[in-house]
């Protein structure tokens, strides 16, 4: 592999800087200029979105492999590199991040409390997310990973809702407990590789002894698994989602949880293929339990956000199951599912956010018949629910199909259970939709106006993305495949 070092416009750094710069600019705006803060946020997130779209368009699928490489030595003594690149796996993730940030900013347009700080923390968080997705150096991946985690605490504890301080503290401590295993694992691999480089691909070429791989993979899997919502480490996730404000829930469930799955794929599976083979059984088992468990617990919830939280656990189980199959279709499906689930959950939370803002409740029994008072706002939630179930024409349909086909082939019993779990989740989604939006009309909400156009725009964008990739899945699958096929053949 030859690296074209800095021979082109550093577009990846530019994407990263769109958030860092946004953060700095926001910090210098006087605290009482709320409107300006929002406009600046929208501008910088828009710049990120445009750059990501351009990147997606410019990526050469035929060539595949790492493109737009930027690589310079950062710390000589340890072999740390500033190494950014995209391939078929992180490209969809970058696109997802930019879409969710852009729509997240739009969703929070009506925020009034400590606006400046909110957007500053949000941009810091997203800078971390971009950084993890585009870095190919273990040191930087960890740095950005932690940068993306700690703004969650103030974001939830200051602007959150139900039991915000408890939820924020639980989430922060859980996620940082995950890094208790990740950081030693990263340095352990570095030390085993002779202590000369943190470059993922150089380490991959060195190859590690199977025993080293088994230890390191388990640590990376469990560490990132916490963030990916792997059962039984998922308990922070519904509580955190419920406590967080809308845009943070969107970014968190939509993008941050993907960081966990991405970490397992990029670090664990790339560096420790033997470890993956050794632990794949466990991964498949935990993933299946997650799918079934999430669906059943979701069935019993009465809080709309809890419902989405548990459905996330279930859907992230599908990602884990896909990864554990170690087949082209399975990993393809898993990466696609990461993307599809990200957009879908963002839509879910965005839709619930509007309903909650207007009715000040998200308890299902208190709502009811909403589709008659606010048909458009309801439609967004219902579309998201269909996407969650995996109805054809939705992006997640293809993702789930790919995962289940290969899961049933690789692990017949677990695969079957997982498919059954999906049926249960369809049941609970339809139940929620029926109780919240149809049925008896609650007169209490009759006066609420339907969502105006400018507030609906983030949801329209998200629905558009879901449908677009549902109708033209090849556009994203070709990209993912260009990375997954060489990856699987190297296993």
């Amino acid at each position: 592999m030859t690296y074209m070092e800095m021979a082109h416009f550093p577009i990846l750094t530019a994407i990263l800087m769109s958030t860092v710069l946004g953060l700095i600019v926001i910090m210098f705006i006087p605290a009482d200029r709320d409107k300006l803060v929002k406009q600046v946020s929208l501008f910088f997130s828009g710049v990120g979105l445009i750059l990501c779209l351009w990147l997606y368009h410019a990526y050469d699928v035929q060539k595949g492999g790492l493109q737009f490489v930027e690589r310079t030595l950062w710390v000589k003594g340890l072999g740390i590199y500033w190494f950014l690149a995209v391939d078929g796996i992180n490209l969809p993730m970058l696109l997802l991040t930019s879409v969710v940030l852009f729509t997240g900013v739009l969703t929070m347009w009506e925020l009034e409390n400590r606006v400046k700080e909110f957007f500053a923390f949000t941009f810091l968080l997203v800078a971390g997310v971009y950084g993890v997705f585009m870095s190919m150096d273990l040191f930087w991946i960890f740095v950005w990973y932690d940068v993306s985690l700690f703004p969650m605490y103030p974001l939830i504890a200051i602007w959150g809702g139900t039991r915000k301080e408890y939820g924020g503290m639980k989430l922060t401590l859980y996620l940082l407990a995950g890094s208790v295993l990740i950081l030693p694992a990263i340095i352990y691999l570095w030390a085993q590789g002779g202590g000369v480089t943190f470059d993922i691909f150089e380490l991959q070429r060195m190859g590690f002894a199977p025993q080293v791989q088994n230890i390191a993979f388990l640590m990376l899997y469990l560490g990132f698994g916490v963030l990916a919502g792997v059962w039984p480490f998922h308990t922070w996730s519904p509580v955190g989602h419920v406590a967080a404000p809308t845009a943070v829930s969107m970014i968190h469930a939509g993008v941050l949880m993907k960081l966990g799955a991405y970490g397992i794929l990029r670090l664990g599976m790339t560096l420790c293929p033997d470890g993956l083979v050794y632990w794949a059984d466990l991964m498949a088992l935990l993933a299946t339990i997650g799918i079934v468990y999430g669906a059943f617990v979701g069935l019993a919830q009465t809080d709309l956000k809890y419902v989405i939280g548990y459905s996330s656990v279930s859907h992230m189980g599908i990602v884990g199951l896909g990864l554990s199959t170690m087949t082209v279709n399975g990993i393809n499906g898993a990466v696609f599912q990461m993307f599809a689930h990200g957009v879908m959950t963002a839509l879910f939370f965005s839709a619930v956010g509007y309903i909650y803002d207007k009715t000040h409740t998200k308890m299902i029994p208190e709502l009811g018949g909403l589709s008659r008072t606010m048909p458009i706002a309801s439609a967004f939630f219902i579309i998201a629910a269909f996407a969650g179930i995996g109805v054809p024409c939705m992006a997640s349909f293809w993702a789930e199909l790919l995962v289940f086909v290969s899961a049933v082939q690789t692990y017949p019993v677990r695969g079957t259970f997982a498919v059954l779990g999906l049926v249960v989740s369809a049941l609970f989604m339809l139940r929620v939709v029926q109780k919240t939006f149809y049925g008896e009309k609650n007169e209490k909400w009759a006066h609420i106006p339907d969502v105006p156009m400018y507030l609906a725009s983030p949801r329209i964008i998200l629905v558009g993305v879901i449908l677009f990739f549902g109708l033209f899945p090849r556009i994203i699958l070709d990209v993912i495949q260009s990375a997954v096929i060489p990856f699987v053949s190297s296993l």
Binding site: F142, V147, T172, L173, V180, L183, P184, I187, A191
Partner: protein, 474 residues
């Protein structure tokens, strides 16, 4: 005669102490003037330390060694002293008649610690330790309301004296075994002798005196009480500058043993684990922020020990880097405390409520400092922990590193509680606004930038610490 050039930083601090001695005899100069004189003089002290950073050589019959390692630490000491002096604009908790003595003892203490980091002979080390310790005993006792805090000063003195006793006793054993007090000769003979109980006992006893300075478990008992009982400025000095000297001493002394003895390393591992775990667990329940930081300093002594016990050049380098990081982060936290409690009382965590409105800059400095102490990137504290852990994992201490990371997560809880107070809690009663003068403002901005810059661009600093560690091993 040229050899005296090597001694310039120390001589400069002797001069400073002499000036303040003269001023204290006069008793005519106002506090404000004393403060400005002290600021200027200690500022020049930093400059002197920078100019002398590249000196190398031996003086005083080879008992005193000037190398990059010692000069880096002298620079850190000078910076630490300068910063502490900068925060002394309102010395409310010290009797105005004693301000001149206050500065004099602080400079003598710095002088003692500067000598400490250069000493390579056991008795010279002992004399330097005592010189700095006696000044600290006096500084702690200077706080007003002596009846309330007298216990602290006496306790500190008693425990300190006992620790000194241990140290001399250990040194005498080492001399008995090795027939020399020169460290350079000790390095040659000691590794071969570590199977002898007398050598281990001597080394451990001598080290326990140094661990006392560093507040490593189980030699930490003085720290919480002294942190709480001393005036805020003195606590800041003990927590920042004096910690640098202790770290330098432990690094140099542990380096002597050469890492040949598995028993010795095991002992250090146990101390490190106990120190981290104990410090962090007790810190969880603290209400007084100085006490909280005292327990956190015990934990940090444990983290630093992980790097030192790796016994490799990278290990020592990482410990030096950690010391730099600790100086910046800890000072940032203390500076905020000093400015909020400007009347000199002991600050409770709940008094931080609403700080983000009272002074956004102070709140941000505090947050970054605490995140640094918790080891969250992109601050210097994270990079320090990363380097320390990297050195340990190169030697294969995987379990130790995982314990260290678990501790870092535990510590995050109590740091978050402080941050929560500053950013979330609404004050129960109106607290006076925080007065932040221009000096403090620029210092705070400098600290914030330094915490991020040293953390994100560690390349030159890693190179510097590696060079310092190399000079240590020559």
């Amino acid at each position: 005669m040229m050899k005296w050039v090597l001694f310039i930083p120390e001589l400069y601090y002797v001069l400073m102490a002499a000036i303040f001695f003269a001023l204290s005899v006069q008793r005519k100069v106002e506090s404000k003037r004393l403060y400005s004189i002290a600021v200027v003089l200690s500022g020049v002290g930093v400059l002197v330390a920078v100019l002398c950073a590249r000196l190398e050589g031996m003086v005083f019959f080879d008992a005193y060694r000037v190398d990059l390692f010692s000069q880096v630490f002298k620079l850190l000491l000078a910076i630490g002293t300068f910063w502490v002096v900068l925060t002394c604009s309102e010395l409310e908790s010290i009797d105005p008649r004693q301000h001149a003595e206050f500065f004099m003892f602080m400079f003598i203490c710095t002088l003692g610690m500067m000598m400490l980091v250069s000493s390579v002979e056991l008795l010279t080390i002992y004399v330097s330790v005592e010189l700095s310790s006696y000044c600290l005993y006096l500084l702690v006792a200077m706080r007003r309301k002596a009846d309330m805090f007298a216990e602290t000063a006496i306790k500190y003195f008693m425990i300190g004296a006992a620790a000194s006793g241990f140290m001399v006793f250990g040194i005498s054993y080492l001399f008995g075994v090795a027939q020399t007090t020169y460290v350079a000769d000790l390095i040659k003979v000691l590794p071969g002798m570590l199977d002898q109980p007398a050598a281990i006992v001597g080394l451990v006893l001598a080290l326990s005196g140094f661990f006392f300075k560093q507040a490593l478990f189980p030699f930490h008992i003085w720290a919480p009480d002294v942190y709480q009982g001393a005036s805020n400025q003195v606590t800041t000095y003990i927590a920042t500058a004096s910690k640098m000297a202790a770290a330098a001493l432990v690094i140099r002394f542990v380096g002597f043993s050469g890492g040949e003895s598995a028993l010795f390393i095991k002992l250090l591992v146990v101390l490190s684990v106990l120190s981290m775990t104990f410090g962090n667990l007790v810190a969880l329940i603290q209400k007084d922020i100085k006490r909280l930081l005292a327990y956190s300093s015990i934990a940090h002594a444990g983290y630093m020990m992980i790097g030192i016990l790796s016994m490799s050049q990278r290990g020592y380098a990482s410990a030096i880097y950690y010391a730099i990081a600790y100086l910046i982060m800890n000072f940032a936290c203390f500076m905020v405390i000093l400015k909020i409690a400007d009347d000199g009382h002991n600050l409770q965590i709940k008094e931080l409520a609403g700080l983000h409105k009272r002074s956004p800059l102070m709140a941000m400095t505090l947050m970054l400092g605490l995140f640094g102490l918790a080891g969250i990137p992109p601050t210097v504290g994270f990079t320090g922990k990363f380097l320390v852990f990297a050195a340990a994992l190169e030697k294969g201490y995987l379990t130790l590193v995982i314990i260290g990371m678990i501790n870092a997560t535990i510590s995050l809880y109590y740091y978050l509680i402080v941050i929560k107070a500053a950013y979330l809690l609404e004050p129960v009663r109106p607290y006076p606004p925080v007065m932040v003068d221009r000096w403090t403002q620029s210092l705070a901005i400098f600290l914030v930038l330094a915490m991020v810059y040293v953390g994100v661009f560690p390349d030159q600093f890693v190179a510097l610490t590696e060079a310092a560690a190399r000079s240590l091993l020559v």
